[in-house]
């Protein structure tokens, strides 16, 4: 399916997520920020798009832009939704900031037919090298935090995530990694390659 050109220029990982979503479906973006992805999905894929966002500025921006977004905490509020309420539940760049990532992923799979998760890969070769040579917690352009102020409290690798998905009995329908040039490649069976060269991974899951 062709995705129309995007005048807003959403982030490349958000574009990958958007491309995984069938038009006209029901979508919940858990942790939707200022609503870039939601707005794209609404305008270009005619999606019934909903969001949860914890920051006041984010929610105000979304609602002011005509998006349906609830101010709340993904960690506690997913349980309010009924089973299979959505076709897709998206969690982009947020799983590693959850206190109970496995619990959150379980809730996503309960309320959605599919879950889409994107996460930074802590086994990316530059981060491995950083830790090995400097002996300090890795920082990079996309991970600009010090160890003491990072919101990312549950870092994992692409391999870790694939293992968790297996443990939970979920099926990976599609998996991509983004290399340092921002080019997306299929993970498929080459988890080892993705785990070395992927800055982030994007997974489409189903029960």
């Amino acid at each position: 399916m062709m995705t129309p050109a995007n005048p807003k220029g959403i982030r490349v990982d958000l574009q990958l997520i958007a491309d995984m979503i069938e038009p006209g479906t029901r979508v919940l973006d858990a942790g939707c920020g200022h609503g870039d992805l939601l707005e794209y999905l609404w305008r270009f894929k005619q999606v019934d798009a909903r969001g949860i966002e914890i920051s006041t500025q984010g929610v105000q921006a979304c609602v002011s832009a005509g998006l349906s977004v609830v101010q709340g905490d993904v960690e506690t509020d997913l349980k309010d939704y009924p089973d299979d309420a959505f076709d897709y539940v998206i969690l982009s760049q947020t799983l590693q900031a959850m206190h109970e990532p496995r619990e959150v992923l379980g809730q996503m799979m309960r309320i959605g037919k599919h879950a889409i998760v994107s996460l930074p890969n802590f086994a990316y070769w530059r981060l491995r090298l950083y830790l090995m040579l400097k002996g300090r917690m890795p920082m990079s352009e996309s991970l600009p935090y010090e160890w003491y102020n990072t919101p990312n409290i549950h870092f994992c690798t692409i391999r870790d995530f694939v293992a968790l998905v297996g443990e939970m009995g979920l099926t990976i329908e599609q998996s991509l990694f983004l290399d340092e040039e921002g080019t997306s490649k299929t993970i498929g069976n080459s988890v080892a390659v993705a785990n070395w060269f992927g800055e982030q991974g994007v997974f489409l899951l189903r029960k």
């Binding site: 006041t56 929610v59 609602v63 002011s64 832009a65 005509g66 998006l67 309010d80 009924p82």
Partner: protein, 398 residues
């Protein structure tokens, strides 16, 4: 004089020589089929006073109903005909404003049980020819909404683009969404709750007791006795007014400042500015409000509990609702705190309803929805804009 324009025996404000004198429209509804109240009583003749702004479009798809709060009325834009003060939502409703009357057809009606033209306890009971007084049936928020529905039907509007209201107005919004989900496109309950809490009931009871312990209340027959329970009603207003503010707002506005004096007087005059302010609030309120109406309306609020009608499950009230919701609360509102508003959101989420929720940072307390709060106005305007796009409402050409 026909039955249609019989003046309420005790109306102080609205009639002169038997003529309805206040601005706005006033229609007689429920003539054929009576309005059946939650109490089981049937009202056969209901007057509804209302005002409209803007123009209804050809498709009749741009109508917004604004529901007023306990002591509000339908004079929300122009200066109030009795007090001369600016309309209670004049900052929000008007040409080019948040609720743009160049674009939307805006309706606001006085609630059932009110005292500004819609049938209430100060009106004539058609069965007896005398003032209702305490014989007026106890009404509910649901009854108020059914009376509004009669008005909307009378105006020939099938589906309201939006129903908006704060505080008790928000309760009416929730009732609209529950009772008439197919007649409402968007619902915006603001600073409200799906049921009155023990604390809410407690404050209302203080107000009612203040009125009923005023000897001039005369068991509710004060009009016939030629008296007015002004002191009781003023005290009720003073107590309630405190709940509309916040400690921070009171401190900022008054602190411990003294009123026109340099030292305390060792007496019970209004030494402090805050006392003087509350006394002023109380004394001006009695000029525009009826004591029995205050009793009836606060009772309706206390009885409000949507979940109770749905086996205790609020979410069951909104299952599969097609209505788009925007719930808003204010951080310093302790009368209808964010917690109460969030309960509504949780219930709507449980029904997978289309809901937005924003908590607005403000130190102005419950009354923030009536005041100049730019973030609040921005969110409200943006939400309406988004809904208009979803409903395919075209912008009025310039």
């Amino acid at each position: 004089m026909t039955a249609d324009d019989t003046p309420p025996a005790g109306s102080d404000l609205a009639y002169a020589n038997g003529e309805w004198t206040l601005p706005g429209e006033r229609v007689r509804l429920a003539k054929g089929a009576p309005l059946r109240l939650d109490s089981g009583v049937e009202l056969h003749d209901v007057h509804v006073a209302y005002q409209t702004w803007g123009e209804l479009n050809a498709e009749k798809s741009n109508a917004i109903l604004v529901c007023h709060a306990l002591t509000g009325d339908h004079y929300m834009v122009e200066d109030h005909p009795v007090t001369g003060k600016a309309g209670w939502w004049s900052q929000v409703v008007g040409p080019g404003r948040v609720i743009d009357t160049d674009r939307y057809f805006v309706i606001c009606s006085n609630i059932l049980g009110g005292c500004m033209g819609t049938t209430g306890p100060q009106d004539i009971n058609p069965d007896t020819g005398k003032e209702w007084g305490l014989d007026f049936p106890v009404i509910t928020i649901g009854d108020m909404v059914r009376a509004q529905k009669l008005l909307i039907d009378h105006l020939g509007i099938k589906s309201l683009f939006a129903v908006i209201g704060g505080s008790m107005g928000g309760m009416q919004v929730l009732e609209w969404a529950c009772q008439f989900p197919d007649n409402v496109f968007a619902a915006i309950p603001i600073a409200t709750a799906a049921r009155h809490s023990a604390q809410n009931i407690a404050f209302n009871e203080v107000g009612r007791q203040a009125i009923m312990s005023d000897p001039d209340w005369c068991g509710g027959n004060y009009h016939a006795e030629g008296k007015r329970p002004h002191r009781g009603l003023a005290v009720a207003r003073m107590a309630a007014h405190i709940t509309y503010l916040s400690e921070a707002a009171l401190t900022r506005k008054f602190g411990r400042n003294l009123q026109d004096r340099d030292a305390v007087t060792y007496g019970f005059d209004a030494d402090f500015q805050v006392e003087s302010y509350l006394r002023h609030q109380g004394s001006t309120f009695v000029d525009r409000f009826d004591a029995n109406a205050y009793l009836y309306i606060t009772r309706a609020m206390d009885y409000f509990d949507i979940a109770q009608r749905h086996g205790g499950h609020l979410s069951d009230a909104f299952t599969d609702t097609p209505v788009r919701f925007l719930v808003m609360s204010f951080t310093s509102d302790w009368l209808y705190p964010t917690r109460d508003n969030r309960e509504i959101v949780h219930a709507l989420n449980a029904g997978a309803a289309n809901v937005s929720f924003v908590e607005i940072a403000s130190d102005k307390g419950h009354d923030a929805f009536l005041l100049d709060e730019p973030e609040f106005h921005k969110v409200l305007e943006g939400f309406l804009e988004g809904c208009a796009e979803h409903r395919g409402l075209r912008r009025k050409s310039p």
